[in-house]
């Protein structure tokens, strides 16, 4: 049996546990309502009584336990792996002149995909890496590619260049 303090701050009861449970299910009593067991002098919230825990709606939080304000955690920023690999391959395509037609396109494509991925993923960083990869890839194709094509088209130029080189 419980005494209960109503919304009008008046004391009612004692009422049975069954009656109280029904009031809770009807919404007339909630977790913050103060009740006093007849055999104790202590007033406590309904939410603090284990007898009613199973039927109390979860939403109303008991006042006794202040809710910790839920602050959104700052999302850990991490680099887009694709952007970083684009840069690594971009450097690689410059390093190995034979790789201009193999590695450089991969660097450019990876960089472009990374850039579009970064737009839809605010938690990812690495725009700068992707740009490095794209530009170095294009540079490798322009420099080595045009040089190769030029040499293939002008065999004489090659021969002259080789002859003019001090050995």
């Amino acid at each position: 049996m419980y005494k209960i303090i109503g919304a009008d701050l008046k004391e009612y009861g004692p009422v049975s546990v069954e009656q109280l449970r029904q009031w809770i299910s009807e919404g007339r009593v909630n977790g913050q309502t103060k009740v006093q067991a007849v055999d104790s002098a202590e007033w406590k919230s309904v939410a603090d009584c284990p007898e009613f825990a199973d039927i109390l709606p979860k939403a109303p939080q008991p006042i006794a336990t202040p809710t910790t304000p839920i602050t959104p955690l700052p999302m850990p920023l991490r680099n887009s792996q694709m952007a970083v690999w684009s840069m690594v391959l971009g450097i690689g395509s410059l390093l190995c002149c034979c790789g201009w037609f193999l590695v450089a396109p991969v660097a450019i494509v990876l960089g472009a995909v990374a850039l579009s991925q970064l737009k839809s993923h605010p938690e990812l960083t690495g725009r700068g890496f992707a740009i490095v990869g794209i530009i170095l890839g294009i540079l490798a194709i322009l420099v080595y590619g045009s040089f190769t094509v030029f040499c293939v088209l002008n065999p004489d130029f090659m021969q002259n260049l080789q002859n003019s080189m001090p050995r």
């Binding site: 410059l94 390093l95 190995c96 002149c97 034979c98 190769t148 260049l161 080789q162």
Partner: protein, 136 residues
């Protein structure tokens, strides 16, 4: 982060394939010297113009390195020799990330490093072809 963020069998397969390929390449490089064996791919720039690209001599340098000849490797291509530890670290790091989900500290933390490295690479490529710098 207890489990890898994007763990998949495909990634694991790629890592295993990369490890196997790397080991095979290392064995081939150790046994056959690129300066005498004929089956290595030839640098197109070198073949056609006689100019050395920034990567020229890299395979020969790694062959020398695998036999412990650091000085000879350095003479062939100092840039590749200097970059090798960084490359190994990147590979190991990628492997550790896929296998354990732990992120080791990265080397290229800022894009400006990429620009510097690329600039140094281009500079090295130009310098090594100038008459007073040609070592070989």
């Amino acid at each position: 982060m207890k489990t890898p963020l994007s763990f998949s069998l495909l990634r694991l397969g790629a890592i295993v394939a990369a490890m196997l390929a790397g080991t095979a390449l290392a064995v081939v490089l150790f046994v056959f010297d690129p300066s005498t064996a004929g089956f290595y791919p030839v640098c197109t720039l070198r073949e056609m113009t006689g100019l050395q690209c920034p990567g020229c001599g890299g395979l020969r340098a790694m062959h020398q390195l695998s036999h412990g000849h650091l000085a000879a490797a350095w003479r062939l291509n100092p840039f590749v020799v200097a970059l090798l530890p960084a490359g190994l670290w990147l590979g190991l790091r990628e492997m550790a990330r896929v296998l354990t989900g732990r992120q080791w500290p990265g080397l290229v933390t800022r894009p400006v490093f990429g620009w510097l490295l690329a600039g140094a690479l281009v500079l090295f490529g130009i310098l090594r072809n100038l008459p007073f710098c040609r070592g070989q």
